[in-house]
């Protein structure tokens, strides 16, 4: 038995021959116009300033006299003669390397905590994200207060426990304490970020691979080192590199925590560049100092790209 199908109401639809291709159909055009504003914006406000920064390094521009005059290598010479520059260059590398080690190890531990299931995990997640989500200037201020030369509760606790005498530990006023403090703040701030990135890696391991390893007899540590870490290695590398970049290019932590003290010994390239270029008004010198950030960043960029490529081949 077949039913007769009732015909739909009559509507006038254009014939195929009459169809026109409008601008909103042309994908090539759309692809281009969707992207152009962003590209123009980035080129204008990142590309151009980047080139300018290099140009300034060779100029005599100051905030008092903004006219551009070629100065050759004068700025470079002046910068190199200054001991603070070399100290800040060394600091930048030392802070970055030491921080990176701690960030990766502690970040991995924290990543494992973040993916685990336990009561109260929401509170732990919230507390653990605080260091990174807080504006850096403000979290650094909290540290400055925590390490205050007179009112630090750490001093009081150590003193009450009998571990130190009546003298206060001048955390931020002495080397090497100040250097350690800067590293501590960087590590504290960036471990959550590293943990979140590594968490992504942990979550992307298929569940049955971990189960197969369990059935195959691998205990916790063997699974960690033979299965989990090799499989998440690209993301561990990404986390390490992000951590390195943020530490390397940081100006905020040093500026707020120590202001470069004691006697400019805790400056990094970024903060010293700021002091010379903005506070001091010497744009040329500031540009030279900041320029030394570039080679490291280029290396980091290439390494990140390689890590991402490796992820895709797995």
């Amino acid at each position: 038995m077949t039913d007769t199908v009732t015909a739909p109401p009559e509507t006038r639809r254009p014939d195929i021959a009459e169809a026109r291709v409008r601008l909103s159909d042309r994908e090539g055009f759309l692809a281009w116009i969707f992207l152009v504003p962003t590209v123009v914006y980035i080129v204008a406000l990142v590309g151009v300033p980047f080139v300018l920064a290099i140009a300034y390094a060779f100029s005599d521009v100051t905030t008092g006299d903004p006219s551009y005059d070629w100065a050759g290598l004068t700025n470079f010479n002046r910068v190199f003669e200054d001991d603070v520059f070399w100290q800040s260059l060394q600091n930048t590398f030392v802070f970055t390397l030491v921080s990176m080690i701690f960030i990766v190890i502690l970040g991995k531990v924290l990543a494992n905590i973040l993916v685990a299931d336990f009561r109260g995990k929401w509170i732990v997640r919230f507390l653990v994200l605080l260091p990174w989500t807080t504006p850096v200037a403000l979290s650094t201020l909290s540290w400055k207060w925590l390490l205050h030369s007179i009112y630090s509760p750490i001093d009081w606790t150590l003193h009450t426990a009998g571990l130190i005498g009546s003298d206060h530990v001048y955390w931020l006023g002495r080397e090497p304490h100040a250097l350690i403090a800067v590293i501590a703040v960087h590590v504290w701030r960036l471990v959550p970020l590293a943990a979140v990135i590594m968490m992504v890696g942990l979550l992307s391991i298929p569940k049955d691979m971990d189960e197969a390893a369990r059935v195959d007899g691998a205990g916790y540590w063997r699974r960690m080192f033979e299965i989990t870490i090799p499989l998440t290695f690209p993301l561990i590398a990404v986390a390490a590199l992000f951590g390195a970049i943020f530490t390397f290019t940081d100006a905020a932590v040093v500026s707020v925590l120590t202001e470069g003290k004691p006697t400019n010994s805790t400056h990094v390239l970024a903060s010293w560049s700021f002091q010379r270029g903005i506070d001091g008004g010497d744009v040329g010198q500031g540009a030279v100092i900041a320029l030394f950030l570039f080679p490291m960043l280029l290396a980091a960029a290439v390494l990140i790209l390689r890590a991402v490529r490796r992820m895709e081949t797995l």
Partner: protein, 348 residues
């Protein structure tokens, strides 16, 4: 024969008791047997398998392997090996490293480990692939690596979770054959999960048909096919499924291959007028779709005529079809369970 794997009154509940994944299962395998857990998605077969493996803990009941209760013991001490649906090969390790991996937990030295791994690889015919990585292998080759990895620890039980599902349909038949031959050669007790009834019929020494967390029937494939315990088993096994016609409070069942034209059916039989709607030609058989009357309620049924039956048939016509009395099964219409035969009208 000694028992290899046994579960007693096994229950697994989720969500505080609202979901009964496994609802009271009692099963025991003979040593060296190939037992298939068959059922639709969500019937609890995979949960049951994972509980035997130790990847899940039962809410109630016991799991015994080789006569010892293993509840609470982690998978690695249960002397089992498992093959997952995705094979779960370690992508960053070579084939050889994959096979060697389980041996690292045992106290044997490196040379010994490699020897064993190569033995397993050769047994499965992949000795030439040991230096490749999983992504360079075909689906069938990956299955063999997974089996070699399972074999190398010489477990007492193999647990396989739908390992053929990820293969192309064409590959599945040959992979199935390989699996069966492998198991017969090695002789290890195997528990195998699948939703494909053809696979189950082809592979199993015995089949356990499961639905909603319970085992409906356990038996040899022929028994389960010929004497289903209830309508679920009757319609789940066999393709096309068994025809069921309601007759008062009873369901009368007969398989499509037993519904034949008048001229063919002999002996004690039940006849029914069969109005044909359409005919499909499949691999030499004719699948005839239509409705029967006279036996009970008017019901749509399927008849499967082999190529040797050449009686001419046309759509939109009614013919007399019959079924041998011996092949008819009876089920209670309410519970679906097998019931005693009843008197049906129509003689020879």
């Amino acid at each position: 024969m000694s028992v290899a794997v046994e579960v007693k009154n096994l229950k697994k509940m989720y969500d505080g008791g609202s979901v009964n994944a496994v609802d009271g299962v009692d099963l025991a395998t003979d040593e060296g047997e190939y037992l298939v857990l068959l059922g639709p998605s969500g019937c609890g077969k995979t949960t049951l398998l994972r509980t035997i493996a130790g990847l899940e803990q039962p809410t109630e009941g016991e799991v015994l392997i080789d006569g010892s209760v293993v509840n609470g013991l982690p998978p690695r001490v249960r002397k089992i090996a498992m093959v997952f649906q995705s094979y779960a090969l370690y992508p960053h390790k070579t084939v050889l490293a994959n096979i060697v991996f389980p041996l690292k937990a045992e106290k044997i030295d490196r040379a010994e480990r490699e020897k064993k791994a190569l033995w397993a690889a050769d047994l499965l015919g992949i000795g030439h692939l040991t230096n490749r990585k999983p992504r360079q292998l075909s689906g069938g080759e990956r299955q063999r690596v997974a089996l070699a990895r399972a074999l190398v620890r010489e477990p007492h039980v193999f647990l396989l979770d739908e390992p053929l599902s990820n293969l192309d349909a064409k590959l599945r038949a040959s992979a199935r054959d390989e699996l069966k031959r492998f198991q017969q050669r090695v002789g290890t007790t195997t528990v195998y999960v699948t939703h494909d009834q053809a696979e189950a019929m082809g592979l199993g020494d015995r089949i356990a048909v499961m639905d909603h967390g319970r085992v409906r029937q356990v038996g040899h494939p022929v028994d389960v096919y010929d004497h289903p315990a209830d309508t679920f088993v009757a319609t789940f096994i066999g393709s096309p499924p068994m025809n069921l016609v309601k007759h008062d409070g009873t369901l009368v069942g007969f398989r499509p291959e037993h519904l034949l034209p008048d001229e063919i059916v002999r002996g004690e039989r039940v006849m029914m007028p069969f109005h044909i709607e359409r005919i499909e030609y499949l691999s030499g058989d004719r699948h005839v779709y239509g409705t029967v009357t006279g036996l009970g309620d008017e019901t749509r049924v399927i008849a499967r005529l082999p190529a040797t039956v050449t009686v001419p048939l046309r759509a939109d016509e009614t013919y007399e079809f019959g079924c041998e009395m011996e092949q008819i099964r009876f089920f209670d219409a309410d519970s679906g369970e097998r019931s005693s035969p009843i008197r049906l009208g129509s003689g020879p």
